[in-house]
């Protein structure tokens, strides 16, 4: 009765959780603890075509984890009640969108330490865009026992004072897996990518969304005219193409594979409204610009290249090939200033060790 088996559980409730948790699940694969991927009913409903569930199955088989696709909190309680360990969620807080994980954490057997991750550059309860604060306020609370941040405490301005004692700064999950250093010269000149996240609260009006799509169109045409291709990446959670039946302009190609399957360094540039994907490209050594035409709060990205107009955009595309080193050194300075720990991998390994295995 006393020897309860140890277990590292990962909770997947939103589509984004798959990518957020993936490096951590892989890191945990060497652990002696049993590993379980808990998949919520909400996730199964969102993932109508089972595309992302197939990714979960692949991840499970690569790492030796098992999958528990549950129907309600009672299922999870029953499955975990004779175990102890740690449960890590890709996203959790007391806001409505995170309700599923919040409820699961509230009702989880007491032998489990509950952990939630900062799951994006800007993230509720950690670092807000002004639209986050306008929609959800500043007192975001967690049911988790530990909240894991990416940056130094001083940079995470939206961690509520009431939650501050739970904060453990471990760094961005994408820095767990250190691949070979990106070769900044090996890119396709002028071939860049523009990333869509129009479902985000940051897009406060339809006008802004339309302007964004107009930008895609104009840039696509300009690149097409010089025989180059623009890639368009819809946000995995937004289901933009399916929702809006948007027809891409000629010369623009869709790129919707999971981010971890792409070689980001191939791109000459990346453009997006404020979004975590900018950070992925910055870490990959790709010149990155923030689109927002002054309508979207980009204060958390201060110091990076901002794009205000269509000509601006075109100039940035040229710079990304012609004065690439300048842009990259500016980005590196931005990253250096965030207070990311040097030992990201070790810090996450330390977190996993809390399972007791």
């Amino acid at each position: 009765m006393a020897d309860m088996s140890t277990c590292i559980a990962f909770h997947i409730d939103l589509i984004q959780d798959v990518s957020a948790l993936r490096p951590l699940v892989r890191l945990a694969s060497s652990s002696l603890a049993e590993r379980i991927l808990l998949v919520s009913p909400n996730f199964r409903a969102l993932d109508r075509e089972n595309f992302w569930f197939a990714q979960i199955e692949r991840l499970a088989s690569e790492t030796g984890a098992s999958i528990l696709s549950y129907a309600n909190e009672f299922d999870v309680f029953r499955a975990l009640s004779r175990r102890r360990g740690i449960c890590i969620a890709g996203s959790e807080s007391d806001v409505r969108a995170h309700r599923g994980t919040h409820d699961l954490f509230r009702s989880m057997p007491s032998g489990f330490l509950r952990v939630t991750l900062q799951h994006g550059f800007e993230c509720l309860g950690f670092l807000h865009n002004e639209r986050h604060t306008a929609s959800f306020g500043r007192n975001i609370r967690f049911a988790a026992d530990i909240i894991v941040g990416w940056f130094d405490r001083t940079r995470l301005k939206d961690v509520s004072e009431r939650e501050a004692s739970k904060l453990y700064v471990a760094g961005p999950m994408m820095m767990i897996e250190d691949g070979p250093l990106p070769d900044v010269r090996a890119f396709d000149p002028y071939c860049g990518i523009i990333c869509e996240n129009t479902h985000s609260v940051r897009f406060s009006s339809n006008r802004t969304q339309q302007n964004f799509l107009k930008e895609v169109e104009q840039l696509g045409e300009r690149l097409d005219a010089v025989g180059k291709r623009l890639h368009f990446r819809p946000h995995p959670a937004g289901q933009f193409l399916m929702r809006t039946k948007y027809e891409l302009p000629t010369g623009v190609a869709v790129e919707d594979a999971p981010l971890f399957e792409l070689n980001l360094t191939n791109y000459a540039f990346a453009i997006s409204a404020p979004s975590t994907i900018l950070f992925d490209f910055i870490l990959a050594g790709v010149p990155t610009a923030i689109w927002g035409c002054g309508k979207i709060d980009a204060s958390n990205f201060a110091g990076l290249r901002q794009i205000g107009s269509s000509d601006d955009c075109w100039r940035f595309v040229a710079e990304s090939t012609l004065v690439r080193e300048d842009l990259l050194s500016r980005q590196n300075a931005f990253v250096a200033d965030l207070g990311i720990p040097r030992d990201v991998r070790d810090r996450y390994a330390g977190l996993l060790a809390l399972s007791g295995a």
Binding site: M1, A2, M4, E73, R78, S81, R82, R106, S107, M108
Partner: protein, 492 residues
């Protein structure tokens, strides 16, 4: 000649509920001789049919249909009895429970006999039914097998002592729509402290919780999270309960001090004893009567187990048997049950009845009322266009009483001699205002809910008085599902 008792229940689902199982099935087993028959029927199967039983025992039927059925039974000289086991009545300041108190008051003049499970319950309901004899019949125990209990208990003691592991069981309904009971009793701070203390005394422990799925929602599980020992959850069924108890060393029975909990019977303790469990009673001393056979302190219990002298063991089973023979004897209980119900004369009441329709009522009640020979009365709050033989209509700020011209001469109701009007299928005449006590003025019968709430109680009471004046001897009931009634009636 065989006497037949009909247990009136709300729905067929109740046939398989704990209340039915614990009580009536055990009474049936206990009644020997075959001169009394007990049959249960859902209320829908009885309404509008000939009343063939000698007595009708109403059990958890808190609806107007039940009152109308009781009225019909009473008019035919049948015995009307009630069996009350849950205290939904003593919370006089809780408006959510007004419907229960109101139902009991309406049933009072129709009721010949009341049964209940505990003395505390008797004290709770006596003020509602001052004229009625109330008989306490405790839940009887059946399938009592002293040899099995002795063998089980001794084996459990051995196992627990050798392994220094205590298997604890908690079983039953984990939630309640009105009171925080069940899982919240199990996870009360005092209980948590006691469970945590087991480890200090060198014992490992495991808690098995067998309860209904509805209770195991997020909030229920969040409570269980606080339990400091390993917990195993199982969905309750009768078979699961038996299995869990047969396997457990101890049944944990925490009871809170609210009225609802204090009026409960000894049943859970008896059920656990019957499976050879030690009883660990925490909180309210509900199981005091069983004092020599239960534990209030875990330290005493653990040291008794260590010394192989727990309170339930083969040596104490004869005493237990003797004790249960006095208190939980199914034969005795079955006989008391039959004689309490059938031993009473039930003079038929000649009174007719009237149902006053309020803000939110149903056509089913309207039809049932006329089908059972009652009068359906429209209050000014009722917007339905059914054929009511008696109407209280708002004209401006005044309430005007109209009766159908067929009804007026039958009851000798003085009506205005001027021309009658036709509403629906009936001809109506206006009743002379001096034939009934004056009615209050009403601000607006429709459209102004707040002002209506203020006048509702007063107006409805005046309508009752008016009906009693116009139709002497009539018993009146109100049909209104809206929260108006509760709010207007206030506490009480």
């Amino acid at each position: 000649m065989t006497k037949r008792i009909c247990v009136v229940i709300q729905s067929t689902a109740f046939l398989s509920s704990a209340g039915m199982r614990i009580r009536y099935e055990r009474f049936m087993e206990g009644i020997v001789g075959g001169d009394v028959e007990i049959v249960a029927h859902p209320i829908a199967d009885l309404i509008g049919k000939p009343l063939n039983y000698d007595a009708y025992l109403f059990c958890k039927t808190f609806t107007l249909e039940a009152i109308i059925l009781a009225h019909a039974a009473k008019r035919q000289g049948k015995i009307v009895a009630q069996d009350l086991f849950d205290d939904y009545f003593s919370q006089s300041t809780d408006q959510r429970l007004f419907i229960y108190r109101d139902w009991l008051r309406a049933m009072a003049p129709l009721t010949d006999v009341v049964l209940c499970t505990t003395r505390r319950m008797k004290a709770v309901i006596q003020p509602f039914l001052p004229e009625c004899p109330i008989t306490v019949i405790e839940d009887p125990i059946t399938d009592y097998d002293p040899f099995r209990i002795a063998a089980l208990a001794d084996r459990k003691t051995d196992r627990a002592r050798m392994s220094r592991t205590l298997r604890i069981a908690w079983f039953g309904i984990g939630d309640n729509p009105y009171f925080s009971v069940g899982l919240s009793d199990l996870t009360a701070p005092a209980v948590i402290t006691q469970l945590a203390a087991l480890a200090k005394q060198g014992w490992q422990s495991l808690l098995t919780v067998a309860t209904n799925l509805r209770a195991l929602d997020v909030n229920g599980l969040a409570l269980l999270r606080n339990i400091p020992i390993p917990v195993e959850l199982i969905e309750w069924t009768e078979a699961v309960e038996q299995k869990v108890l047969a396997d457990a060393d101890v049944a944990l029975l925490p009871v809170s001090s609210q009225g609802f909990s204090r009026a409960k019977s000894l049943n859970r303790a008896l059920t656990a004893l019957n499976q050879g469990c030690q009883i660990w009673s925490l909180g309210e001393p509900l199981y005091e009567e069983l004092e020599p056979f239960i534990y209030r302190s875990s330290a005493v219990m653990l040291s008794d187990l260590d010394s192989e002298r727990p309170r339930i063991r083969s040596e104490t089973v004869p005493e237990l048997t003797h004790f249960l023979g006095r208190t939980a004897n199914a034969f005795q209980a079955g006989r008391t049950f039959a004689s309490a119900i059938l031993g009473k004369d039930s003079p038929p009441i000649p009174s007719p009845f009237a149902v006053i329709h309020g803000w939110q009522t149903t056509v089913a009640i309207h039809k049932l009322t006329s089908g059972q020979g009652g009068l359906s009365v429209k209050s000014p709050y009722c917007g339905a266009a059914w054929n009511f033989p008696v109407r209280f209509d708002a004209i401006g700020q005044d309430i005007v009483v109209k009766v159908s011209t067929r009804l007026a001469p039958h009851y000798g109701i003085p009506v205005h001699p001027q021309a009658s009007e036709k509403i629906g299928d009936f001809e109506f005449a206006t009743v002379m205002p001096d034939a009934y006590p004056p009615l209050p003025r009403i601000s607006a019968a429709t459209g102004a809910p707040l002002r209506n709430v203020a006048s509702y109680g007063d107006v409805m009471e005046s309508i009752r008085c008016a009906i009693r004046a116009l139709l002497p001897g009539t018993l009146t009931y109100v049909s209104d599902l809206s929260s108006f009634r509760t709010v207007a009636s206030g506490h009480g």
